[in-house]
Amino acid sequence: MVKEKTFAFFLGCLMPNRYPAIEKSTKFVMEKLGYSILDMERASCCPAPGVFRSFNKLDWMVAGARNLCIAEQLDADILTVCNGCFGTLQEINKHLKENEEHKLLVNEKLKLIGGYEFKGTINVRHVAEVLGYEVGPWGIEDMIVRKLNARAAVHYGCHFLKPTRIREIESSESPTIVEEFIEVLGVESVRFKEQLTCCGAGGGLKAYSGDTSMTIFGEKMKNIDEVKPDFILDICPFCHLQFETGQDYLNKNKNCNYDYPVIHLSQLVAYCMGMDQEFVGLQYQMMGRDYIFGGEEIKKEEEAI
């Protein structure tokens, strides 16, 4: 049995090595909500679903299973904040639990690379669905100290909801989980054209052909620009990186003039729960450095005795 209200925090690559503010925010939020967050020592890249699975599916499963084993040894479900890591770990976890033949193959190789053994005892969770369903807008309402008054362009990304038959979270054609959650924080999701398309970074495309990646992204930025949101909200550090570096690229190469701050859900929630804006880390990002979250302080009513 996994420990209750405890998560093994899977860091991945982009969050710890490029956007540590997201790491800080997530820890802040989860601990304030009463969860115990454990370090996953010796974790590696998940490995990235579009890249490594494209090279060798078995080794991708083995490396992913190795990360799962670390959490199994901690007896805790995995928490991740990245669509890519979620895509890899949730799918491998589910697949090996259901496919005996592949589980044997993977365990055979796991022995070779460090004596690990996959048992299938834990589940993999994404912070967006932990907050959206488990905590829920009703659960967060009492915990926030600041309520914003902002309009955000919400980007779900791809691997959080799809493939729906594996993730089983909600419909990928009309999702509402994040938007319903942030409403309580005072953030209105503003609809833009072709809202659910890919950011263009995944599948190894950003490394393979940066130009194509930017073409896809450029179209998305154009649609977002039409509605002039206060900031862009994402739930994946790779999308986060794409929105950041992408706006920069488009400004430098395509005569654009974008400066939308890019915020990960963890950063937003942490701020609303009382974390100082300087830890949100906008000063380390490329876009929207001057953006001030603001929002009104919520006075907590005195409890009558």
Partner: protein
């Protein structure tokens, strides 16, 4: 009008007088056929006959060149007449091939035809073991011995003549039900025609034009609807559904429930009530394309012409009661039940159009996507009596569309959503409608997005060509989604033109989805009441897809029209005619002859577990309030499924009892012993 039921004298036995009425010593005659070289070329038939002579109770064993020939058959008959043979075994070809030949033969000389056992030593032996003559002969001997063992305990099976009730029930008054009711009535059979809606005519009356001739369906069907409404032998009940069905083929007891119309029969159809009714709701008959009042007639030419009140939406302001010039409105009317007896039931309950709400990328039914409609809605707009005056208008703003895009295979041919089958009529009606729209509005672009164009049958390829000739654009590609620009509100259909490998974004101010035909709502409870099987797609299952598409899995119940599967009007009418003919046969003859090849229950062994009833597909086993089972011999289909599930072997099918089968098995396995 009361229905006169003619009854024939009750059950008569049709067996000829037989000497085998008393239980007596078995005297078995065995005849082994050469079948030319077919059997004799591999099996030593003489040896087999010799072996048969050695078996207990065998008084005659012969072999002959062609048993099925006249002299061969005569040989069998002679043995009965001369030697008192009272059970016969013919070892030759299969039961399907000549089993009946010999059964009929022995019946002619006074034996019950179930005293014959056919042993197949051709398909089961000589033909498949041609290279191993010795082993084949040994096998033939074992097969013959098994046959002899089997015949030893064969009993007479009587054929009962059951008189039938000369009346029929037709469920559903769409084109299928109307055709079936009419055909039955023309044969002199009184028909009870029930329809769950308040008007008859079904989907056909809602169409604008029928393919391929582009005729007006209301005109085509009008002689039939009027004929049926006025036929002296047809009793029509609208707003009615089946409540309970008991009995079996030839004699069903039906109870129907008639929902109150709240308007009496003296209604003159003047329409004053509707004109003054303050309530407006979307009209179901008009596929939501217009409004109706809480007291209404579905459409001007509706039959019956009596108005009907929708109690759920009525606010009971009583305006209609007061304004009716003949005081026909009566809120106190109650549901009625009616009981009657019929001999056959024809199920013609129709279909429903698939609801594309499930296919999310097409956004059907969502706010802001009112201009995404289905083909039936388009038919309603084009219809002569439509709210739009037969114009095609966008539901959102009432303007004539400049770009109409039709999407095929919505809810059909899909393993992920909807159904895996191809409905088979959508290509035809989409092309029909596309051509009509294009000819009405030559400046409007009309596009059909398809995966395949399926237009088999006379005049349909021609229809396809004619649509292309007037400029309907055909794009081979299945659209992945319909997108809407949040600022301009413009719709675009995203599709790949696979023939030129070009991804496209088509402008579309009206999108028409060609939705599948699916089983109608309420088919589950109806099927349960009828005790008929359903196909895996949810329609009612036919007895045999090739040889008997209008008989259901239960005797006496026939299927007409789309209730059995998607089809167009021509196919439906032919299907309904076949159902009517089959339904009429036992009623016109006056009786059903049924072989009583049914199970018997040993009540001392029976533990009242009820398992036999659960596996009986034609629902031929009834369980009373004490849990005691009894067999409905008319409904029984002799399948024998009740036997293996019975934990105490209390139920045994005549001539297929456990001990009889065991005798056969012992011989086939080489045991050689006889069971007592």
């Amino acid at each position: 009008m009361t229905v006169k039921e003619e009854k024939i004298k009750d059950v008569e036995k049709v067996d000829k007088d037989t000497a085998s009425e008393k239980s007596e010593e078995p005297r078995i005659g065995v005849f082994v056929c050469h079948c030319g070289h077919n059997i004799a070329g591999t099996v030593d038939v003489a040896e087999v006959a010799e072996y048969a002579k050695t078996l207990p109770n065998v008084v005659k064993a012969e072999h002959y060149m062609f048993m099925c020939s006249k002299p061969g058959v005569q040989m069998v008959k002679d043995s009965i007449k001369e030697l008192g043979v009272n059970r016969t075994v013919v070892a030759s070809c299969s039961k399907n091939q000549h089993g009946k030949t010999f059964a009929r033969a022995i019946e002619e000389v006074g034996l019950n035809k179930h005293r014959h056992q056919q042993v197949n030593v051709r398909e089961y032996c000589s033909w498949v073991h041609q290279k191993e003559k010795n082993k084949a002969t040994q096998k033939a001997k074992q097969l013959v011995e098994a046959g002899v063992n089997r015949t030893r305990k064969l009993e007479d099976v009587e054929t009962q003549k059951i008189s039938t009730t000369k009346a029929a029930l037709v469920i559903g008054a769409g084109i299928a039900g109307l055709r079936a009711a009419n055909d039955l009535a023309e044969l002199g059979i009184p028909v009870y025609l029930i329809e769950k809606e308040s008007t008859i005519g079904g989907h056909m009356t809602r169409l604008n034009k029928t393919f391929p001739t582009l005729e007006c369906p209301q005109c085509s069907i009008s002689p039939l609807t009027n004929g049926v409404a006025n036929h002296p032998l047809i009793e029509l009940y609208t707003n009615a559904q089946v409540k309970e069905i008991e009995g079996s083929m030839g004699n069903f007891e039906i109870e129907i429930e008639i929902k109150p119309r709240y308007v009496k029969d003296n209604c003159t159809s003047c329409g004053e009530c509707a004109a003054h009714c303050p309530v407006e709701v979307p009209s179901e008959w008009d596929m939501g394309m217009s409004m109706r009042n809480a007291i209404y007639k579905a459409y001007p030419q509706a039959i019956p012409a009596t108005y009907v009140r929708d109690k759920k939406n009525c606010i009971e302001c009583n305006t209609c009661i007061n304004i009716c010039p003949v005081q026909a409105v009566d809120f106190s009317m109650q549901p009625e039940t009616k009981k009657f007896k019929v001999g056959s039931i024809v199920v013609a309950a129709g279909y429903d159009e698939y609801d594309p709400t499930e296919i999310e990328p097409y956004h059907y039914g969502q706010d802001g996507y009112e201009d995404v409609i289905t083909q039936l809605k388009l038919e309603r707009m084009l219809s002569p009596t439509s709210l739009t005056n037969s114009e095609v208008l966008r539901p959102s703003d009432g303007k004539i569309p400049k770009n109409v895009v039709m999407i095929q295979c919505v809810g059909s041919r899909n393993d992920q959503v909807g159904n895996p089958y191809c409905t088979g009529v959508c290509c035809k009606y989409a092309i029909k409608n596309a051509r009509i729209v294009k000819e009405m509005y030559p400046d409007t672009n009309v596009t059909i997005c398809y995966i395949d164009i399926r237009t088999p049958g006379l005049n349909f390829e021609e229809l396809y060509k004619s649509a292309q000739e007037v400029g309907v654009r055909f794009i081979r590609g299945r659209p992945s989604e319909i997108v809407k620009d949040p600022i301009s509100g413009e719709l675009r259909v995203i599709v790949e033109d696979t023939l030129s490998q070009t991804p496209l974004q088509l402008k579309a101010d009206l999108v028409v989805l060609s939705a599948a035909m699916v089983p109608p709502e309420g088919i589950g409870p109806l099927g349960s009441k009828l005790h008929v099987l359903r196909s895996k797609e949810g329609f009612l299952k036919e007895f045999h897809i090739k040889m008997n598409p209008t008989l259901s899995s239960k005797g006496g119940i026939f299927l007409a029209g789309t209730i059995q599967g998607p089809k167009d009007i021509s196919e439906t009418v032919a299907h309904a005619g076949s159902a009517a003919a089959l339904a009429a046969a036992p009623l016109v003859k006056g009786y059903i002859e049924k072989e009583m090849l049914v199970p018997a229950i040993d009540y001392e062994l029976c533990v009242n577990c009820g398992l036999c009833k659960t596996v009986c597909a034609p629902a031929a086993i009834d369980i009373d309030e004490n849990g005691v089972p009894s067999v409905n011999e008319v409904a029984c289909k002799s399948c024998g499924m009740c036997m293996p599930v019975c934990p105490t072997a209390a139920i045994q099918l005549i001539n297929f009892r456990d001990d009889q089968l065991l005798d056969e098995i012992i011989a086939v396995s080489g045991g050689g012993a006889i069971c007592e």
